[in-house]
Amino acid sequence: MQAAKGKKYHGLKVLFEKEVADFINSKRMLLLILFMIIITISGLYAALSGISDSVEENASFIFLKLFTVSANSIPSYNTFLALLGPFIGLIMGFDAINNERSEGTLNRLVSQPVYRDNIIIGKFLAGCFIIVIMIFASGILIGAVGFLQIGIPPEAEELGRLFVYLCFAIIYIAFWLALSILFSTVCRHAATSALATIAVWLFSAIFVSLLAGIIADAIYPLDNYEGMFNQLNNYNCELNLNRLSPYYLFSEAASTILSPSIRSINAVTVTQLSGALSGYLSLGQSLLLVWPHLTALCALMLIMFAISYVFFMRQEIRAN
């Protein structure tokens, strides 16, 4: 009779296509593109105006400097992306489910012969797809324009590092997408879920680092005589607390990937350094350093999505 039965992923494919088409045709896509353009142009501007100073200090891995150099108080592309990337995920996901609910399209959708989870999976995958395109487009654009400007061709390792960095950025933004879909499943109103996501974003970008310092100081006080013994513990404690924030995780991983000169992300004592040769890390070694970050970001993203999945599957579909 109908072809749907044979193809297990037919419904998912249709939903995915519809969501992608929706994103591309929507007004918010213009907003997102504008957002990406601002990030890209200001990152590029910062890099191109600051790169000559930076090259004077250290002339290796110039191509990667395009993404990390800041100038005249304009932050680098990397900083921009870490700070504003969450917004991209937020804009795409904050009304994913509750809008369907309030428009009355959700109960029309769930009465069609598709598995209910395909609806939320389709939304998430479509969002990820858009993120991949946007991030790669902007990263490659910076690389291309930067290459034309500085005239030094990138090495294979630099391209590899750029690729890894962009993948990190995609997972990072996909985490925020999953988080905003989670809030859109839990909250009835789109505005509430948007505010909730913004709250988490502010918390992880600003307050976690403040709190981490306070807590670390409380546990390992730095004053008096004992402070001298607590120094290392205090630092480690603060660092680990900071790493609870996805913002910090991404920033740390991104700067490690983009700067081969970063040899360690934890505190290093003088004794550990004795006998070490100064030099750059290979891409594989850098990856080894940030492997936990990658795992953590992936896990965070999947956990957020899993929670929203469970919520969505358990929710009553009622006509409002």
């Binding site: 249709v14 009465s111 012969p113 579909i317 009622r318």
Partner: protein, 335 residues
């Protein structure tokens, strides 16, 4: 196609529930519901707001899991095999929604694709259905510009996209103008008679529904208190020992009121608009007309009101201890 497949088994009930029960925290939304709906029938599920009508329809679609009992559509278990059920059942929710940024045609296309249609057969189906519901002209406008009636018509086209054997409509007449309702009712009859589809219509708007339904079920507090044709329901009430008549008399004065008040056998006397509504324990028409003649009144109108659905409905609510349908709404709040 699927509609013909089951014409052979026309005698059997296409929708069947056995002891279907659903509880929400402190209330029972649907209580031990046993329902049998035959193929090709238009069945009206009538009841006040919050009686459990929507919950029942959701359980039939497998969108809500029952706490006890089973529901079958076309012998498919609605809970365990809801995907198969959804292929054969079209559901028109109340206040049906469409993607506002897509045109009517695009909305239908999306649903058609979800149901496995594609290519030219999909486009033909869309055109055919748009013509059938009279939406061909507005098909390429965005649905956010549609009126309530247009959305409802598009909703019916949307339901028909999958060529369902069973159509479930939740409050289809809500917020539609009289002309729209007339058209909708004609369409409903057509779907049942011409296409041989089975329709389950849940509503609290009695007058519109009684015109199109073959059979009705009255649903109060999650229980099906009565079911059958309009006549059967009327008889069931009369068997309950209450008789209702409407009376209009000339001249109408205070003496008449006294006369009626003092008459034996009248349980309740009410003045409604032009006439009195009299409820009594037995048929008092003979006695009443004799009495009025003797006192020099002319009877303008005297008719039994028992077969009117409104009356049936009201009486069943009273039987079920339900006098005010509106007060129920707050109790089963779905906030």
């Amino acid at each position: 196609m699927s509609v013909q497949d089951t014409l052979t088994q026309s005698d059997e009930s296409i929708i069947l529930t056995k002891g279907l029960t659903k509880r929400y925290k402190d209330t029972i939304a649907v209580d031990n519901l046993n329902l049998k709906i035959k193929k090709g029938e238009v069945f009206g599920l009538l009841g006040p707001n919050g009686a459990g009508k929507t919950t029942t329809t959701l359980m039939l679609l497998g969108l809500t899991e029952p706490d006890a009992g089973q529901a079958f559509i076309n012998k498919i278990d609605c809970t365990k095999n809801s995907l198969e059920v959804k292929k054969q059942v079209g559901y028109l929710p109340d206040n049906v929604g469409f993607y506002p940024d897509m045109t009517g045609r695009e909305n239908l296309r999306f649903i058609g694709k979800l149901n496995g249609l594609d290519g030219s057969s999909l486009e033909e189906q869309i055109d055919r259905l748009l013509n059938r519901v009279g939406m061909a002209k507005a098909a390429d406008k965005k649905t956010q510009t549609y009126s309530r009636g247009m959305r409802q018509r598009l909703g019916i086209a949307d339901v028909l996209m999958k060529n369902p054997q069973v159509i479930i409509m939740d409050e289809p007449t809500l917020g539609i103008d009289p002309e729209g309702i007339r058209e909708l009712m004609a369409l409903i009859r057509e779907l049942a008679e011409k296409d041989g589809r089975t329709l389950l219509i849940s509503s609290h708007q009695l007058y519109q529904i009684q015109k199109v339904c073959d059979r009705m079920g009255i649903f109060v507090k999650g229980k099906l208190v009565a079911h059958g044709t309009l006549e059967e329901l009327g008889q069931q009430i009369n068997n309950g020992g209450v008789n209702t008549i409407e009376l209009s008399v000339y001249p109408e004065n205070v003496k008449l009121k006294n006369l009626l008040d003092n008459m034996e056998g009248i349980l309740e006397l009410q003045k409604q608009n032009e006439y009195y509504v009299i409820r009594s324990g037995y048929d008092i028409r003979r006695k009443l007309s004799k009495l009025l003649m003797e006192n020099g009144y002319t009877i303008m109108l005297l008719r039994p009101a028992g077969s009117d659905l409104d009356e049936i409905y009201r009486q069943y609510f009273e039987k079920a201890g339900e006098t005010d349908a509106g007060s129920k709404r707050k109790k089963i709040s779905r906030a």
